[in-house]
């Protein structure tokens, strides 16, 4: 535990609970709502209104919060005083997603993959593998066209219509990998609409067979994709019914992740040349 750790100056690392609560309030402003009222905050953190008011007042006094037009509390300019020289727009999607891959693995017990767009394909750049009989990761560097596999469709569906049309033009005729690979552009557009609506892509055995897959996009604030996260397991262990049962828990993790990834701007793009 951190609070039992010894510092270099031989002092135990105690912490201040009341101040920690104020930091908890400030942390709520990361990737969730942009403003809070006193009542809302007391409910969110399960603290008294008096305590919520005092925490907010402290953060206002310190410049980390200000009141907006309607009297609610929003982020203030004190944040700029904890400026970080490395905090530019470079977003390390692999380290950002790593804890969420672990949480999805813990929830499902199955293998989890992280993939990004490279050219006209997706490439898997990280994974957490299940034990025993499992779905193994794609060889690093293996390129899978953006119309095949759920990871590809979770990525391409959140590009603009113009970009998807450009992909179809550049990749046509769409390559068939299995009997269920979507090779008809019209069918691909229908799938894109479905993925956009439901927020994830299912596997149809359209790239690999014998396994069940579901893929979720990692999105920026404008709902463009940073990456896709895929959960996959052997079809006899991870059935479609299992996926349905696990879906609410997976969505909870994905929603939390996307509320944070929205802070960073995606530079995903297809390169059709």
């Amino acid at each position: 535990m951190l609070d039992s750790r010894q510092f270099g100056d031989d002092q135990p690392g105690q912490f201040n609970k009341a101040t920690a609560q104020i930091l908890n309030v400030l942390s709520l402003y990361v990737g969730r709502r942009s403003s809070y009222g006193v009542t809302e905050l007391s409910r969110e953190l399960n603290i008294s209104k008096n305590m919520a008011y005092r925490a907010l007042s402290t953060l206002v006094k310190e410049g980390f919060l200000i009141k907006d037009r309607s009297g609610r509390y929003e982020l203030g300019f004190g944040v700029l005083q904890i400026q970080d020289l490395d905090a530019d727009l470079q977003f390390d999607v692999r380290s950002f997603c790593a804890p969420f891959l672990q949480r999805l693995h813990k929830l499902t017990g199955e293998s989890i993959f992280l993939s990004v767009i490279v050219g006209l394909n997706h490439v898997t750049i990280d994974s957490v593998e299940a034990h025993g009989v499992r779905v193994s990761h794609s060889p690093r560097g293996l390129q899978v066209p953006l119309h095949a596999s759920p990871a590809s469709r979770a990525l391409i569906s959140f590009l603009s219509d113009d970009e998807i049309a450009a992909y179809i033009r550049a990749a046509s005729p769409l390559k068939r990998f299995t009997a269920t690979t979507i090779t008809d552009p019209e069918a691909l557009w229908k799938e894109v609409a479905l993925v956009r609506e439901q927020g994830f892509a299912r596997g149809y055995g359209d790239h690999y067979t014998h396994a069940t897959y579901i893929s979720f996009p990692v999105l920026d604030g404008t709902r463009r994709p940073h990456a896709a996260i895929t959960v996959g397991g052997p079809a006899d262990r991870l059935t479609e019914l299992d996926v349905e049962r696990l879906l609410p828990g997976m969505m909870e993790i994905i929603d939390e992740m996307n509320s944070q990834s929205a802070l960073y701007t995606s530079d995903a793009r297809i390169v059709a040349e």
Binding site: F15, T19, S27, E74, L75, F77, L80, Q83, T265
Partner: protein, 258 residues
């Protein structure tokens, strides 16, 4: 939980944010005049909340993930940032220079986005830094395309601190900036060119600045690239409104500003 009992925590956080080097309890204690035990407690509290992390498993600390996320949450409040990123990439491609997005906050310009240039030598500040409006090309572009009444207010307040001659010089610079539709500052063999992103009423919502040495031949292309972004944001004024424009500029103080 009183304000005074929490203030030292934020003093420690600000100190670590300002220093840009790892600090330990002894450094904090000496710099802020705090008892060593208080410095330990403050660091431990900030570490538990992930506002700071240990530097390479040592007893010294640097800013942590939560501080970084908070800063990005602040940037994300400006919808114009997401809209501007593709344009910034295009400007980098045309100029080769580092391109930054500045937005107006009170009488300051704050750098909320940055795409590094492709040239071998780059020069730029970090995102999150703030500059008084008259101090750089971004500030001039933001000020020149501000409502006339606000410009006058800024110049009146500044004249009280400087001189009528200095005011006249700045007024001329702003007039030139409006005519050219961009601001430029030359510094030896380098220059800074800033092109405002304009709303329908010709007021700047932000400005894109290329720092390095923008060739005059590429300026027309840059102006036309930013003009397309202006059209986009002008079409949705409520979406791209500055969320802090309800504040009195005089009430906004950024102590870290240059």
């Amino acid at each position: 939980m009183t304000t005074s009992s929490a203030s030292y925590i934020f003093d420690i956080l600000r100190l670590i944010g300002a220093e840009h080097r790892p600090l330990g309890a002894t450094d904090v204690s000496q710099r802020l005049g705090l008892p060593l035990t208080t410095a330990h407690r403050g660091l431990s509290t900030l570490e538990r909340a992930n506002y700071i992390v240990r530097y390479q498993s040592s007893t010294k600390f640097v800013l942590g993930g939560m501080s970084r996320k908070l800063l990005h949450s602040f940037f994300a409040r400006f919808a114009i940032r997401s809209a501007a990123i593709p344009t910034m990439h295009r400007l980098v491609a045309v100029t080769g220079e580092t391109v930054s997005l500045f937005v107006p906050v009170g009488w300051y310009g704050v750098r909320i986005g940055l795409i590094k240039g492709t040239n071998e030598v780059i020069r730029t500040g970090p995102v999150g830094e703030a500059w008084a409006l008259e101090k750089n090309a971004a500030g001039l572009a933001l000020l020149a395309f501000r409502a006339e009444s606000e410009q006058r207010r800024f110049l009146d307040a500044r004249e009280a601190r400087t001189s009528p001659a200095e005011r006249a010089r700045l007024e001329t610079e702003l007039k030139l900036t409006r005519e050219r539709r961009y601001a430029v500052i030359h510094d030896g063999g380098r220059n800074e060119v800033s092109i405002p992103i304009l709303a329908r009423d010709d007021v700047s919502l932000g400005t894109l600045t290329a720092e390095g040495n923008v060739a005059p031949a590429s300026l027309d292309a840059c102006l036309s690239i930013v003009a397309r972004l202006s059209e986009l944001v002008a079409a949705e004024p409520e979406r791209y409104r500055n969320v802090y424009d309800h504040l009195d500029p005089d009430a906004v103080t950024l102590p870290s500003a240059g």
